[in-house]
């Protein structure tokens, strides 16, 4: 069976998607309209007070580059752009779910966002905020597995524990696809922008991305390095191998690895006290 067919079969089993606040639907429509202004979108997000305050907290985290200095959502939109804001709104919406799904998955995701930001900025890549946001959501597929395919999730966990296998390998054995494939389907359902969908989909195999390879490679490296530093939990305790292809895509041979790791550690430490 092809991957597409596998996903189709799987999604038929899914009774309900994790519910997103009403605001997210409206947000998609408003953002698509070229006439909408930052002020309007800001007002829409702020109309859900709980969500609004979480969004404000997230955009003020150090990895977006304006720690503690963004005072309104419309200001955040001007500074970070609609793509980032949409990703942040989704992250803030699924935060509770993520925390309940897998202990440590939120910390892992946040750590990944930090590491991705540090890598992207040190490589002087454009739009580090978008890359960070993709990293924040890279494991969103795991949440869907836990919430909507809970029997399969239990089977995966038991394989990880019994056979000391990586979570992803166990997923492929049980589901035929992994959380990146599921994340791809889910983020398309949620109409996230391609700049977020592609790095999420290809965070294990950045070299296979049809475009935005560099961004996928950053998220791929950030995932591995965040686990190496022991920040959060992604389903198993191991560091996944960084692909040689990702290493060359980012021309890492010509960068000071020691300095980069020192910076990542400082930045991870800084965000370790983050809470909503």
């Amino acid at each position: 069976m092809s991957k597409d067919q596998q996903i189709k079969t799987l999604t038929k089993k899914i009774q309900s998607l994790p519910t997103l606040p009403h605001v997210v639907d409206k947000l998609t429509k408003v953002v698509e309209s070229p006439e909408s202004t930052a002020k309007e979108v800001g007002k829409l997000i702020a109309s859900d007070q709980v969500l609004g305050s979480k969004v404000l907290k997230l955009v003020n985290s150090p990895f977006y580059g304006f720690p503690g200095r963004i005072s309104s959502i419309s200001h955040a939109i001007i500074l970070l752009g609609f793509n980032v804001i949409k990703g942040v709104v989704i992250s803030a919406s699924v935060f509770d779910l993520m925390e309940r799904s897998m202990m440590g998955l939120w910390e892992h995701s946040l750590g990944c966002a930090v590491t991705a930001s540090t890598i992207a900025r040190s490589l002087k890549m454009p739009d580090p905020e978008e890359i960070s946001t993709a990293a924040l959501l890279h494991d969103i597929g795991k949440v869907l597995v836990k919430v909507s395919l809970s029997d399969d999730y239990d089977a995966i966990i038991s394989i990880v524990e019994k056979e000391k296998l990586a979570f992803r390998e166990a997923e492929v054995r049980v589901l035929g696809v992994d959380h990146a494939d599921i994340g791809n389907w889910l983020t398309n359902e949620w109409s996230l922008p391609d700049k977020l969908i592609t790095p999420i989909t290809f965070h294990h195999l950045p070299e296979e991305a049809p475009r935005l390879k560099e961004r996928a490679a950053v998220v791929h490296m950030a995932d591995s390095i965040t686990r190496a530093f022991g920040v959060g939990f992604g389903g198993d305790p191991w560091v996944p191998k960084i692909s040689r292809a990702a290493w060359s895509i980012l021309d890492m041979e010509n960068h000071d690895l020691d300095a980069l790791m020192r910076q990542v550690m400082i930045d991870l430490e800084e965000v370790s006290t983050f809470s909503f």
Binding site: A228, F229, K241, I242, L257, R262, M265
Partner: protein, 111 residues
């Protein structure tokens, strides 16, 4: 290094990361020892937290030694031991862990 919410800042703590406003103006430079007046001023400028040197606030988690942190990190690389690229990354992270701990020790007299 530790990020401390503004209401938990105490005079004598040392700023470890400069605070810059949106216009790029430095509000508090790295290495500045905080005074009560300065904390008051940061509050008025709506700064919500500050990174300070050392770990002046006890978070209730016992600190691990650098050897423990290092050993735990290395253990996570076990299934891919011997991969040349991953070994280099492991070594770079190991060096980072060791160097950061030394910095903490240096800033100890400030606490």
């Amino acid at each position: 290094m530790q990020r401390v919410p503004l209401d938990m800042l105490k005079p004598g703590m040392v700023c470890a990361k400069a605070v810059v406003n949106e216009k790029g103006m430095t509000l508090c430079a790295e290495g500045t020892e905080l005074s009560a007046a300065m904390i008051e001023r940061l509050k008025r400028m709506c700064v919500s937290s500050l990174v300070v040197k050392g770990t002046p606030i006890d978070m209730g988690i016992p600190a691990k030694t650098k050897e423990e942190v290092l050993a735990e990190m290395q253990a996570r690389f076990m299934p891919i031991a011997g991969d040349p690229l991953m070994d280099r990354i492991k070594d770079a992270i190991g060096k980072a862990i060791l160097s950061a701990q030394t910095e903490e020790e240096e800033s100890a007299p400030h606490e």
